[in-house]
């Protein structure tokens, strides 16, 4: 009887401890703070129309950040997110323009993106090369290859199926695109994988201590491969969402996708050292990036300043992560 009481006391930390222990609370406060600042300086910021725009602008980075989260949770990093996504848009666009069936074209493009993820995963898990170098290499290869394929320039992609993700529906006063719903569905699905399944638990274990994971019998290399494969597939879906937003395949697009997706993940509280964090934080982080870019645009500030601010933000987030790690 008495031991049971002690147990329940020890098992129920105070509300404050629980809030501080919940990793997404900090990012949420940052998001709210940015919203308040932008709302006070510009009344247009909170207009339902603008909020819809922010969501639409967040769709691509938000989706790429899902894959980036998976990779970073394993203590990796993916510098090829943008390049793989552009691969998807160019291949799908090229095939459709050549007269192929749009569903086949998009499907093939997504498959190719998945293949790119698989290639990265094989080099990282199979040959044990550092993720940083492998994905940097893939970024270089893809960027050059895509410019060659598209002969340097962007080309329009006019196909209703490829553009479908940009179609809108009205929910309350908000205009939502199907792309937003697809992104949210992906968040839900991958959240479920990470939090409710064995697969997700092993992602966290590997990110935290790959040797311990191996010793308890987790097939670490196969698991890493599956992480990069899934990430590649998600980047492929992001390519479809990108075509829905802008009906244009541009080999020079998504230059800031690496910075933005990594920023979303890290601001969202996922540790670059692996094993700590999660998708709810990433969604908030992606919204922070979206709100920041939108708010600065509304204020008429040059896009280069947006990159600058995003850069500062990611460094602050990494510094906070490092500090919390040292304290432990």
């Amino acid at each position: 009887m008495s031991t049971a009481t002690i147990a329940s006391q020890q098992d129920t930390p105070s509300l404050k401890a629980r809030l501080l222990g919940t990793p997404s609370v900090g990012p949420l406060l940052v998001l709210v703070a940015f919203c308040i600042i932008f709302a006070l300086t510009n009344p247009r910021f909170l207009a339902t129309q603008n909020i819809s725009i922010i969501l639409q602008q967040t769709v691509i980075i938000g989706t790429l950040a899902i894959g980036q989260t998976l990779v970073i949770l394993t203590a990796g990093i993916d510098l090829a997110v943008g390049a793989i996504c552009v691969l998807g848009t160019i291949v799908a666009g090229k095939l459709v323009n050549l007269g192929y069936d749009p569903v086949f074209s998009m499907g093939f493009a997504i498959l190719l993106c998945t293949g790119a993820g698989l290639a990265a995963g094989s080099l990282i898990a199979g040959l044990r090369l550092p993720p940083f170098i492998v994905t940097l290499g893939i970024l270089g290869i893809l960027t050059a290859a895509l410019r060659l394929i598209s002969e340097g320039g962007a080309f329009p992609v006019r196909d209703p199926f490829l553009a479908w993700t940009g179609n809108t529906m009205k929910v309350g006063g908000f205009v939502l695109t199907y792309g937003i719903l697809i992104m949210l569905a992906l968040y839900g699905f991958v959240w479920y994988l990470l939090n409710q399944t064995k697969w997700g638990r092993h992602v966290y274990a590997i990110g935290n201590n790959p040797e311990a994971a191996r010793l308890v019998g987790i097939p670490v290399r196969r698991h890493l491969l599956s992480v990069y494969l899934l990430a590649g597939f998600i980047y492929g879906i992001a390519a479809w969402l990108a075509l829905g937003r802008i009906p244009n395949a541009d080999p020079n697009a998504m230059q800031t996708a690496n910075l933005d997706s990594i920023t979303a993940v890290v601001i969202g509280g996922t540790s670059l050292f692996g094993g700590r964090g999660g998708l709810i934080g990433t969604l908030i982080g992606a919204l922070i990036v979206g709100v920041l870019r939108n708010g600065l645009t509304l204020a008429g500030i040059d896009p280069l300043w947006q990159d600058l601010v995003t850069g500062i933000l990611v460094i602050i987030a990494v510094a906070l992560d490092q500090m919390s790690r040292r304290r432990n």
Binding site: D11, R201, Y204, A213, G217, I218
Partner: protein, 261 residues
């Protein structure tokens, strides 16, 4: 003597080297059901490396492993677990970022009929097993990182006994434990022994070894100095084996025994 029965484990002429270092050099040890064999030796003698070969953590360069007299194909930790080999590593091998219950079941999670993680069942079982080891322990919901060294060690021990091991490897299992918890592990070892489980115990505490082990196998510089039944030798003789490599008359000398002129 136990010699008429088939040994549970036989490691024969096992070697492994890292770079130029012969961490384990032509070592042979065996273990019978219901027996505790203590592996002794100075720091760096090769004890952990030898048992890591048995647990599948390292791949041997040469030698053979027999389980119940049959050659066993152990190339990774999963293979070893299939043979009922459970290991408490000196380095514990826990995932810091997940809680005690999740650590106990890491790699062998219980699942609901829908395929999702059954955290409720895992926690209930974790409480039961930990109760056997360390009844004061209640912090099942916190990441293992937040636990003390001894508590982490209890988690590692609980994980090893959770899955009906037939062969248990304990690499300095009580190094971080307090006297009460150490005594509890001693009781646990005696109980597991009664259930017919074979245990390799690595320990630097010669008193514990004489209290718990049926036999000792001593290593020095990667080689086996010799084997002896604890009832046949004194603590000083065993210390002589560890420090000097000197085999007493009632011990069976191995390749690492000091050659007497």
């Amino acid at each position: 003597m136990t010699d008429q029965r088939t040994p549970l484990v036989e490691m024969k002429n096992v070697s492994i080297s890292f770079g130029g270092i012969h961490a384990v050099d032509n070592a042979s040890v065996d273990l019978y059901p219901g027996e505790v064999v203590a592996l002794l030796g100075h720091n760096g003698a090769g004890k952990s490396t030898l048992i890591k070969i048995l647990s599948g953590a390292y791949k041997r360069d040469a030698g053979e492993i027999l389980i119940n007299g049959e050659p066993a194909d152990i190339n990774n930790p999963r293979d070893a677990k299939k043979y009922g080999i459970e290991t408490i590593y000196q380095t514990l091998a826990v995932a810091d970022n997940v809680d005690a219950a999740a650590n106990l079941y890491l790699g062998r999670e219980l699942r609901t009929p829908w395929g999702t993680l059954d955290d409720v069942a895992m926690e209930a079982k974790a409480r039961e097993v930990m109760g056997r080891l360390n009844p004061n322990f209640q912090r099942f919901k916190e990441p293992v990182k937040a636990l003390s060294g001894g508590q982490r060690q209890s988690v590692a021990i609980a994980r090893a006994i959770l899955f009906d091991a037939r062969i248990l490897i304990m690499d300095e299992p009580t190094a971080a434990l307090g006297p009460q918890e150490t005594a509890q592990v001693g009781e646990l070892i005696k109980q597991l022994k009664k259930e017919g489980i074979g245990i390799f115990l690595i320990s630097h505490d010669i008193h514990d070894v004489f209290d718990l082990a049926d036999r000792v196998s001593v290593m020095k510089n990667g080689q086996v100095v010799g084997h002896a039944r604890t009832q046949d030798v004194t603590k000083d003789e065993v210390l002589g084996m560890i420090i000097l490599g000197k085999c007493p008359p009632k011990a069976i000398p191995g390749p690492g025994a000091m050659q007497v002129a």
